[in-house]
Amino acid sequence: MQDNIFNVEKVVNFNDNAEIFIGCSSFEERCLGTIKKFSPEYHYLKAFIFIYNKPDPKREEHTRIIFDILSKKGPFEPIPASETDPLLSIKFLIQELKSILIVHKKITLSIDITTFTKKHLLLLLNYLDKNDLFNSTRIFYTEPKTYTTNLYLPMSFGILPIYTVTGFVTTQSLNKRNLLAIFLGYEGDRASALVNNFEPNETVLIIPDPPYHPEWRGRTEEMNKNLIEIIGKDKVESIDSLNPHKILKTMKSLFGKKGKYNLEKYHCSISPLGTKPQALGLYLFWRQYRGKFSIVYAPPYMHNESFYSKGIGRTWQLLSPS
């Protein structure tokens, strides 16, 4: 796999393989980011669009726009998905892909991960991997133009039960020291609640650096300042917010054999509360350190409706097929 990421102005076919496009509709406008950048020459065999089942007028509007664009490109299929349990929808997709593979021996999957939930993304990547499709995948991601964060209001309230993402379980023994690593986002209370419920021996807090936009520098630290104070500034590490290859590299340096938090010494759980590309980078890390840590998640009980992304920012190709 190539290590660079590319700013995408126009989406074109990567190679001559049969192209499959996979996206996800959302109330966030940036779910249209990649699709709106399809070049006239871009063509696919089939497109699949995941649609989460929580009713939302903005999601419905964006879905209509997506369908409108795709209808001019080729066949597409909506896949209803549950935010809390997307496995069924993934199962459907895998079966469809297997059918396609019977006819077309080589395919390229182009996935726009922008508005997938992190759980959904991790599960999907894992199952593509198990079916030898990961190396045929390229991944797009569109940044938000801005977030309407209010530094004085919580982004979400409370948490739902913590769970391990299916398939991402550690085989480390139970008597090792517990290490919890959290990719921090803007939901400080959620990260704190995770630490309070988990009660690890050690915690590592991972800040996205550099942020997507320079003017956002310091926001994550501000939103998590109490937690950082409790855990200690010496336990804060920085990781790229966008490039999954850099994220992988930093993860290896932190958690690899020679790292400060050598996974061999811990019963480690990692929680991706940060950016989507960080979740992708985490998956790349999982591929190389399978079973050495688990991935845990704590969904918020309730989102603060004022917090979400606005507009469509830059689109990136984060991963290219090998």
């Binding site: 496995l87 004085y152 409370g158 299916t166 300042k225 409790i230 845990v296 009980y301």
Partner: protein
Amino acid sequence: MKKAFITYSHKDAEFVDRLVQDLETPSVSVTLDKRILKPGDSLTKIFEEIGNSDFLLPVLSINSVEAKWVKKELETALIKEIDEDNFKVIPIIKDNEDWEELKKKIPTGLREMIRPKFLARFDSKSYEECLPDLIGALTPEEEFAKEHAKIQSPNADNPFRRVRTENFESIQILANSFARPESGRYDKIIEIKPTRLEGGRGSGKTMILKSMTAQVGVYRLHKRTFKETNLPYYGVYCRLTQGSFATQAGNILDHITESQANLLFITEFNFQLVNSLIDEIYSCTDRRIFDISSKEETEVCQLIGRQIYSGQGTNNTINNFLDLKAAIQNELGILNDYLSRKILGETGNYPGVFINKDKLRTICKTIITNISDLNGKTIYFLLDEYENLLPFQKIVVNTFVKWSEQGYFSIKFSSKKTGFKNPQTLERQEIEEGHDYSRIDLDYDLSKAVHRTNYRNLLLEICQKTLKNEGFRETNIEKVLETKSPFSGYESDIVEMYNQILEKQHKGNYASLGKLQQQEIKKRLEIGALYRVLAKKHKKRHYSGFEDLMTLSSGIIRYFLELCGTSYYYAIQDNVDVKNGKQIKSQHQSDAVYALSGYYLYNIRKNLVQYGADIHRLVIDSGDIFRAKILNHLTEPEAARISIIDPHNLSDGTHEKITKILDLAEMHSVMQTFVGIGGIRPKHKSDVQPSEYILNRIYSPILEYSPRCRWRTPFSTSDLEGLINPEAREVIKYNLIQKVSPIPKKSRIIKSGKKSQKKLFPSDTVSGD
């Protein structure tokens, strides 16, 4: 929710309107004159509104300092602030003002009263910089959260910073800090018979389990090797966290049958136990606590390898611990992969090795027999956080409890309260308390004299060790904490209050009563009278001294340590040299009590999974009801026991939500219940639930009722359900208050400074508030 009233000049409306929009949060509601005054209303309504608020925010500008009404409102509010502990004035200096010039226009008296106060300086800071300061002042719990973070920081110079076992940086520090519970309790924990440790968060479950590991044992008993300790057991600590088991992830039972799940989990569990056992042995040899020759290691590992792979036809060469661990992890990986595929609907037989209970026994026997340092011992698997397991996994662990046997292994497991609901085993038997295992409740019931004494002694020992380890001159915590009676200064008011109560009871005058009768009155009504006097004077109760902090900790060690830690923090902020023998002043302790009380209450919403907001509401409302009782009831003022009159309704499935909420509240020590109070803890989900709960006493300061829970307040399950229903809450609460303290409508709510209001209760704007 707090209420803030803004007083300002209408010429500054643009600034104020923006401020109001930004200040209104789930924690704070803001009132202005234009919001409350209707045409024809008297302006005195504004003073009423100030009286009903928690904060006055005067916006000071060149326009407002010259306005008569603003000055009047400010004056009234500043005097009210002196009289009442719970009311605050926070002056706001408007942007683009010259504060030095403004000050000259404020009357001298007012200016002097404002001088020492916190000011929100929009004149000298940008709006974005100043707003968080102001919000912080309005939400002291948020501000205290920042302080709490500093107190808990690993770099904090606070002897009480290690409130969780996980905070101990090394085994040696942990061992040096460990204090054994009373011998009757601890002996039962360490005996061969399996043990179930039950207790709230912070009660010491993990500490006790870890005390039984070889490494801690060696340090604790001041020996050099495990052999020298002569312990009859070899403890292996296993924490059952999320992410430990593949059979825990996903809705596994939607994809495989329960018997298949059991088989896989038995295998997974066994492998993890052996994995942990090997790691523990490895660790001990590394630290030279153990002595194993390479020959012993090879023999043991080859034997175990054959035991695991017997009949599999696999050629696995396992010659040392590293090989053994690699093989186990490989098997666990196979299991994880198999389950992932199964969940996605892929078929196929399980390609890994199954390992059942007999193999675990055999493996344990092999290790005990072939490692000379372990000859004659029993392996204790010390399982922490049993409550994290799924129901079918718990049944498997129960089965292992039943299979425990001397000379092989025994299971010691801990769970939070309500984490153990089903005693079933795989063989459809039940593990029986007493016969199959001992149950130890680590929470201390402070209403029982014996418990109180034992808890007291334990706290004294923990603090003595802590302070000694940190080099403190005085290590007796009772002497470190200054004590001041809460009655101090109110003695004559209290006697007057007795007279008022006696008059209502038609029992004459206190002074005319005999000594015995006076003692009886005091015993029954002293605290109630104190609260009534304090309410009249708008003062808060003072808390200090070892006994007060012990009571407020509700019999849970962590709370006591946090109270001490926060008190210490305030003391050193005031330059008190506690380390060299100075006492922590009573005021520092009282401040710490209120800060922590508010912080813990506030955190219920944030930290409790799923029902945090409901539990937060329930606690506040219960507190209001207890407060009404303490302020009004003639004979049973300290009635902070929630007594459920129809507990069978909690088990019949019709009141599922409230049952879950009570369970969760108990699990997280928001509420407590004890054996012998309202029934024994039920063994089965369908058994009658406990009928009596006590709110964690840590909430009593902020909710202003007595932490001593002498009498009961009855609730029905419908009442409790009503209190968690935002639609019905107000009416239910009113009715309950009427039941416990029938008072005339007009004087229904005695102004406590916390939630005084004209209408009954502020309505929720966001769930949880």
